[in-house]
Symmetry: C2
Subunit: 120 residues, 2 copies
Amino acid sequence: MSFKSQLEHICTQVEGAVACSLMGFNGLPVETHIVEESGVDVDTLWVELSSVFAQLQRTAQGMSAGEVREVAVHTDRLATVARLVNPEYFVILALRPEGNVGKGRYCLRVQSAPLLAELS
Amino acid sequence: MSFKSQLEHICTQVEGAVACSLMGFNGLPVETHIVEESGVDVDTLWVELSSVFAQLQRTAQGMSAGEVREVAVHTDRLATVARLVNPEYFVILALRPEGNVGKGRYCLRVQSAPLLAELS
């Protein structure tokens, strides 16, 4: 299954999903699937989040907390969950604030293995 | 109810809770309740998270995403959920990775109003 199909598959399973992307920690998206416009500058938010994710990864390793597996940020207008795929890439899902964040977390966890297989 | 009692109340409600703190965005804790030692340097992680939370707040406001209400970081050894109380303070909960994160998010949301009342 292509990256695009995998990201679309995540979005169709999660109520309130707005967009899903496979991102590099360099801030560049590999592939993106957009369900609807959110009115939020998602591209910029995701570049910022990739920087925060990388920063937290360095911090966590320095304090025996292990790898950072997931980072989530909820604002008034958008909920965002990012999950580690491998040391270079993560998958990120944006939802409307009333969307099903728990289901989103679950789907990203399940889908990270097939995404990793596709990256290898 | 004192800050200490409120933080303890959160911890008793959430399965897997390790510690809970009311923190300033300056990185200084106002009050902390510790349930058990996690083996992770929680103090340092929380100072880092307060910096990340503030950084995301500035970014989100600049891209029409509204206020950042919640930031969560899950590592191999600790899950952490932080929730905005007011522009100067947030409440943060650490759980074992297998803890009930959904319940933790709910409790922080509910408890942020009484904490805000206590701060005022």
